[in-house]
């Protein structure tokens, strides 16, 4: 019997790949020539002419070789690939800007000291943003503690209890998710700070952030819980579970990773919020671990203040702060993901 070699006829052969490469670079050369000989100018002209030339060449080749359907397919493929590239460019560009401008300010003392003994014009070896990192983490933590239970319980009311107030609450949650952050800040300012506490603190910031976070957590959780099959709830009930035990033992565990996504989206909503913190936290330059007393710094506040100060050192600090903020958010996201996907040890 002949030896049979495993092949993958549905994948492009080496020859196909080579032709693909030739078409790619051929289109590049063609677009350069086009820009050189015509009135078209600028980077955008290169990109646009390249996209159309590349799509046209691929389509013509496929049409002559395989026919109309394949021609359409390859032209659309080119457009989609370029569209994907186009959407990545802004993200990549933002990250690139932050990293290239921010890395200069990253020094060990940035993570070890605060700005209480430094002025905006001090060299970068003086002062740091420890107070801002700590403040941001404490405020996000506070907002998490307040919003996650309230948000998930709201979602449970909407999906499990379905009481008389389901419609109005759903409407309120949707309306609240569009509240501008400055409004949340002003609300806490007028409802809590002026009449009651009469002073700024990190906790006031957490309260305002919660107002922004709760609707996000509640809406996403509601959608996730809605995906859990009704079957499972009935099965739990049919085994003699009360509604609460069925929800706690079956529905919530089944929705765990989706709920974690809801929490992550909630963090994403508030992590970079600046406006309410400007109003409520006082934005001190001193390291402060107590969210209930004295001003508390935060990364967005620090960035805003440093840019306002305007000196070269301060602007570099601001960019470094931005880089740190991005990294802190990234760490929060990744750890939330890891927590949610970890298998139950058994």
């Amino acid at each position: 019997m002949n030896e049979v070699k495993p092949t993958s006829p549905w994948k492009p052969s080496a020859k196909d790949k080579l032709r693909e490469l030739v078409t790619f670079f051929g289109s590049m050369v063609a677009s350069f020539t086009l820009v050189a000989v015509t009135e078209l100018k600028g980077k955008l002209a290169y990109f646009v002419s390249f996209v159309f030339i590349y799509a046209a060449i691929s389509a013509i080749y496929s049409f002559r070789r395989y026919g109309k359907a394949t021609a359409k397919d390859s032209a659309v493929k080119v457009f989609i690939a370029c569209g994907a590239l186009l959407t990545i460019i802004p993200i990549a560009s933002i990250l690139q800007t932050i990293i290239s401008k921010g890395y200069k300010g990253i020094r060990p003392n940035l993570f070890l000291s605060d700005m209480s003994m430094a002025t905006p014009t001090d060299p970068l070896t003086n002062g740091g943003l420890l107070h801002a990192i700590v403040g941001t983490i404490i405020m996000i933590g506070g907002a998490l503690i307040l919003s996650v239970p309230i948000g998930i319980l709201t979602a449970l009311y909407l999906t499990e209890i379905k009481g008389r107030f389901t419609q109005p609450i759903r409407f309120l949650v949707q309306a609240m998710s569009g509240v501008p952050s400055i409004v949340a800040g002003l609300f806490i300012l007028s409802a809590v700070v002026y009449p009651i506490t009469k002073s700024s603190s990190g906790f006031m910031g957490s309260l305002a952030l919660s107002i922004l976070m709760i609707p996000t957590v509640a809406r996403t959780s509601e959608e996730v819980l809605g995906l859990i099959p009704q079957d499972l709830r009935e099965a739990g009930t049919a085994l003699g579970g009360t509604q609460w035990r069925t929800v706690a033992m079956i529905v919530l565990p089944a929705a765990k990773s989706g709920l974690m996504t809801a929490v992550i989206l909630g963090i994403a909503r508030i992590a970079g919020e600046t406006a309410p913190l400007l109003l409520l936290t006082g934005g001190g330059d001193r390291l402060n671990f107590n969210p209930f007393d004295d001003p508390m710094g935060s990364l967005p506040f620090y960035i805003w203040k440093s840019f306002l100060a305007g000196s070269e050192e301060a602007v570099t600090r601001a960019w470094a702060g931005l880089l740190v903020l991005v990294v802190v958010i990234l760490i929060l996201f990744v750890s939330a993901r890891i927590l949610s996907t970890r298998k139950v040890a058994r």
């Binding site: 739990g236 009930t237 085994l239 579970g241 035990r245 079956i250």
Partner: protein, 275 residues
């Protein structure tokens, strides 16, 4: 049609099993509505302890609605309403002040689609009822083995009790769900087309399981498969909806329903003339 009645006759007709608990389940004058839609009218049916009763009839005739009124799962649907009495050991399960979770503990249910809890392992699935209902048992491992054994699944899963329930095949998942409902020791087990999503091999295993279980408990099974009704049940009830609410046309020992039904419509259905 002789084959079906042969199958039904071949079973040894048993008297009420002495090992079954309680005095059985009685439904008296059950009506059911979904909003304005009258789905089921005036069904009265007794289920003696230790018997298997099959409910047959075309789709939409109210069989599933009927068994869902028996363990109060009917009220899960927001617009649902009902009338009539369901007596378990002589006590109305719909009486005010009755703890509905206790009722569902005594009247277990197996659903049409296998639905093991996705966040739990095989072992946890079987014992989940204990946690849900906050029951205490002395030896969980014994109970686990007993339930899986009775559901005919022990040999297949005893080495991977820590695997996820979803990793089993459809037939095994359904037997896992049966084991799960046995763990809380119900008197009555309601089965809503338990084999409709399964292959013939798994179906046969589950039918054997049903026969064994019926020695100690009362079983009500909804099925579209008349062969199955003939094979597993002691009594068969025929349901029909004739452009109105579903009604029970006839109930009799299974052999009689398939050999000499009293009602013309029953005969038409069991001989395959419609439905």
């Amino acid at each position: 049609m002789s084959s079906l009645s042969d199958v039904a006759n071949a079973k040894v007709q048993r008297a009420v099993s002495p090992r079954a608990q309680g005095t059985g389940l009685e439904a008296r004058g059950i009506h059911a509505w979904f909003g304005k839609h009258h789905a089921l009218a005036d069904v009265s049916l007794d289920f003696a302890p230790g018997t298997v009763t099959a409910l047959i009839g075309p789709s939409g005739c109210g069989k599933s609605t009927f068994i869902r009124t028996l363990n109060r799962m009917h009220e899960f649907i927001p617009s649902a309403a009902m009338a009539g009495e369901v007596l378990l050991d002589g006590k109305d399960v719909y009486a005010p002040g009755v703890d509905v979770t206790k009722i569902r503990l005594q009247i277990g249910m197996v659903f049409q689609k296998p639905n093991p809890f996705p966040s739990m392992t095989i072992g946890e699935n079987v014992l989940s009822g204990l946690k849900l209902a906050q029951l205490k048992v002395e030896n969980k491992d014994d109970l686990l083995e007993e339930c899986l054994e009775r559901a005919g699944l022990w040999k297949e899963v005893k080495d991977r009790l820590g695997a996820h329930g979803g990793s089993l095949s459809g037939g095994q998942q359904q037997r896992l769900c049966i084991a799960r409902s046995l763990a809380v020791k119900p008197q009555v087990l309601l089965m809503d087309e338990p084999c409709s999503a399964l292959d013939p091999g798994s179906t046969l295993r589950i039918e054997e399981t049903i026969r064994q279980l019926s020695e100690t408990m009362t079983i009500v099974i909804v099925t579209h498969n008349m062969q199955q009704a003939a094979r597993v049940s002691d009594y068969t009830a025929f349901f029909l909806s004739d452009n109105g609410p579903g009604e029970m046309i006839e109930v009799a020992p299974t052999a009689e329903i398939f050999s000499r039904p009293k009602d013309k419509r029953t005969e038409d259905y069991v001989t395959g003339r419609f439905g």
